[in-house]
């Protein structure tokens, strides 16, 4: 009989790495989503072109290819990253590109009359975005952001292939050491599912909170 307790702590260590990656990756993705999403709506052609190129490039190739590119090719350009940094960078940039389209869609979904009312009130462009457009656009973005965060969580499995010791990597270690395949893989599948479930529960809570403050503003 195999003593599973040691292996379980190994897997839990992996879960911590996965969690870390998901949180840091999501933070980067959120920043990139707003930068690129608002960039695509910019007045300046060059900003729009840059944002569009970024979005199309990262949506057009898979996370796996991007990760390998960041990890293996960037060192030749003089930028050597640890596996964790490479993972966060690739995941954040990839999911950020998908998020950017969500931001753009939500901002565009806010009626023109809102923008016109802001001009009538003599609000600056920044004030218009900060106080009028974004508070209404955010709740529209949340459900898709939730899906994106879950996609990011699922994407973290790929970093095991650049030798980062996440859940998937640790399951492979356990498999190599015990020869048992069913237990480690079933365990991590359940752990991933629980994390995905936690993300969607947290997002739903956030969505309720955000829309509550908008009661009476939107119909």
């Amino acid at each position: 009989m195999i003593d599973w307790s040691g292996y379980l702590s190994l897997i839990l260590e992996g879960a911590l790495v996965t969690l870390q990656l998901t949180i840091m990756g999501s933070a980067l993705a959120l920043v990139m989503a707003f930068l690129a999403g608002l960039g695509r709506l910019s007045r300046f052609f060059i900003v729009r072109a840059l944002a569009t190129t970024y979005i199309e490039f990262f949506r057009g190739t898979s996370i796996f290819v991007q990760l390998f590119w960041v990890y293996f090719v960037l060192p030749f350009a003089g930028l050597t990253l640890t596996p964790l940094q490479a993972g966060v960078l690739a995941l954040g940039l990839n999911v950020g590109a998908y998020g950017a389209e969500v931001v753009r869609g939500a901002v565009k979904a806010i009626g023109r009359e809102q923008g016109e009312a802001c001009i009538a009130l003599n609000l600056s462009r920044y004030q218009r975005l900060r106080h009028v457009i974004l508070p209404q656009a955010l709740p529209l973005m949340l459900p898709t952001f939730c899906n994106n965060a879950i996609e990011l969580l699922k994407g973290t499995a790929v970093v095991s292939l650049i030798s980062l010791t996440d859940l998937t990597f640790q399951a492979q270690v356990v498999r190599a050491q015990t020869g048992n395949t069913l237990v480690p893989f079933t365990t991590i599948l359940i752990l991933y599912f629980v994390m995905a479930w936690a993300i969607s529960t947290a997002m739903r809570w956030l969505e309720r909170r955000m829309t509550r403050s908008l009661d009476g503003v939107r119909t």
């Binding site: 290819v65 590119w69 998937t168 395949t181 079933t186 995905a196």
Partner: protein, 219 residues
């Protein structure tokens, strides 16, 4: 390290060899996803609560866990219970079933978009449930879904590099083995990215055409 065109032409035949497998895996995976997705969507509408609940949970579970881990599961765990699959078959099943849970949602939305009156008319015309599905519901439900389905097939194409983790010799795997035996990462990894980007950009044009040809789902 500098970009070397001679090396590019030298490795091109091997990469194209891998690219063929990538395309093959995508097409077979798409076929699996199209068929199983429909089965899942119909099973979810089953009047027997046990069936629809179970199918719903399984689909949710598959969608909430990483494809890479599912591929490992199929490739390493199933042989223990006597099901031995070649890497490509395991990969096609894995990717097909994973995306089936996504296409099932597309089918579900399409089926729900068929007005209730159609079901009632089918019943009034004394059609069996089977006949109603085949002759009345599906012919109306499927065309509006085509753009959304195509979207998932493009996404699936971008996920095929994951098959390299279970030793399928597709584009990414060929590139990796070239890189490892020559100690040159820039050219093979960049070319893989270019290949994927090229196909994605072309398929986006194809997708626009499909969207024009078949009405969008929310119209």
């Amino acid at each position: 390290m500098e970009w070397d065109w001679d090396f590019v032409w030298q490795i091109m035949p091997t990469l194209l060899e891998g690219f063929k497998i990538t395309i093959l895996a995508t097409i077979l995976g798409a076929a699996v996803a199209a068929v199983i997705g429909l089965a899942l969507a119909i099973a979810r509408r089953s009047p027997i609560a046990a069936v629809s609940r179970t199918v719903g949970f399984v689909a949710e579970f598959i969608r909430g866990t990483p494809l890479l881990v599912q591929l490992y599961f199929i490739f390493y765990v199933l042989p223990d219970i006597g099901i031995r699959l070649s890497p490509l078959v395991a990969g096609v099943i894995g990717i097909g079933v994973h995306y089936a849970t996504y296409t099932a949602e597309v089918y579900r939305a399409g089926i729900e978009n068929v007005p209730r009156g159609q079901w009632e008319a089918a019943k009034a015309a004394n059609l069996t449930t089977r006949q109603a599905w085949i002759h009345v519901i599906l012919p109306q439900a499927v065309p509006p879904m085509i753009p959304a389905l195509a979207n998932y097939f493009i996404a699936m194409f971008k996920e095929t590099p994951l098959l390299s983790a279970i030793t399928v010799l597709e584009l990414m795997n060929q590139a990796k083995s070239i890189a490892n035996s020559n100690y040159r990462y820039i050219e093979p990894m960049t070319l893989v990215g270019v290949f994927f980007l090229a196909v994605s950009l072309v398929s986006v044009v194809g997708l626009r055409w499909l969207e024009e040809r078949y009405a969008r789902m929310d119209d």
